[in-house]
Symmetry: C2
Subunit: 231 residues, 2 copies
């Protein structure tokens, strides 16, 4: 006799309900997948999918042998969508444009060099501005590892932003990203059309192709910009 075709979403909802009504208290142990499946009248794989989903969100902790527990600290894993700047600007209905401010070839300063795990070989340094309807939106400060992407030396980046060129020419396999806040100094404020001392959100990214660093970039958003997500 076949079971009664629960969906994994309905299992997820039922589990969340039991957590919220504290049938299963914080830190409590859930029944094992097989038992839950039998109780709810579905296949174990369906329960597995639902519990895996909640674990990815940080609501459950799962370990083999020890079982599944309600997380003590319901630390949520929140997803943020990190779009290409052109896309983000055009999605607002604004016209995207780009201006190269500086292009040089030199050894990066020690913190960047250390983060990129480079010898003292020169790298390509680019500073540029991304504009929305001709208003400064983001200031970009980028270092490209020429040992990893030697072709970059022959590109002038006057019309095509480094971001878009790299997307097509230097695939990456991993990366780190962080957000912070920074007080604008005079030149940066001037570039962004803001005031010295204003506060800006910064986004720093470092990408890798295997064990070799590809590029290190710091984006400084115009003051007031926020990054949003729902959960």
């Amino acid at each position: 006799m076949p079971r009664e075709n629960q969906t994994w979403q309905s299992v997820r909802d039922e589990v969340q309900r039991r957590i919220q009504t504290r049938v299963w208290p914080m830190g409590g142990l859930l029944p094992k997948e097989e038992d839950l499946a039998q109780e709810l009248g579905c296949a174990r794989v369906t329960v597995n999918r639902a519990l895996r989903h909640l674990a990815e969100q940080g609501i459950l902790n799962r370990k083999r042998k020890s079982g599944t527990r309600v997380a003590e600290f319901p630390a949520r894993n929140v997803r943020f969508r990190i779009p290409i700047l052109r896309e983000e600007i055009e999605a607002q209905g604004a016209v995207y444009s780009y201006a190269l401010l500086l292009r040089a070839q030199l050894a990066p300063p020690p913190p960047v060099r250390a983060a990129m795990q480079m010898k003292d070989a020169p790298a390509l340094h680019l500073q540029s501005l991304h504009l929305a309807d001709a208003r400064p939106f983001v200031f970009e400060d980028r270092w490209i590892n020429l040992a990893t992407v030697p072709e970059a030396e022959r590109v002038d980046f006057e019309t095509l932003s480094a971001n878009e060129w790299l997307v097509g020419h230097a695939p990456f396999t991993a990366g780190d990203m962080s957000f912070g806040a920074v007080r604008l100094d005079h030149p940066m404020a001037k570039a962004l059309g803001a005031h010295e001392g204003d506060s800006s959100l910064t986004n720093e990214r470092l990408t890798w192709d295997g064990a070799q660093s590809v590029t290190h970039v710091t984006l400084t958003y115009a003051p007031g910009h926020r990054i949003q997500s729902s959960f």
Copy 2:
């Protein structure tokens, strides 16, 4: 004759390889799941799992009937882990402590009231400080909707932070979160042990239990703090 037991991770890796080497160019159409499964020698469900995973990351776009395409803009969906403050501080090996600075009951200012979709009913307003090794770490400004959580009125929050109390007493079903940067004014700088004009990362959250808002909180981190993630 059974197929040869590929793992979904190996399928995912192979697909990523083909995207990086442009066997499947940006915007290009992938074979349908069934064909891919046959080519790679595994079950269709295994291919499905791998492709679904990449779609969740924003690397692929999938639509029924039209098929699976390589995303034009490889916008990554990056996961950030948003821990409870106590957990975050203790994870650094520091001693967590907490101090309530203000507790009042009044109608929130218009922007907060609008965001929380409240009438002009009073809400509970709390300001507090979270400290790591007795050094200010985060300033918290919180509004609690007493229509949703009336019990909060009888809690003094002197020793237990609102965050930890709410976790146990006011489950939420959804929320919005955003990050921004702010220039510290004098009182905030003083509370955080920083200088007026310093720049801080802020994290704003609004949680809902169904259609009713639960709480609105703005966290202002001590200057220099960053939020990190890998992908």
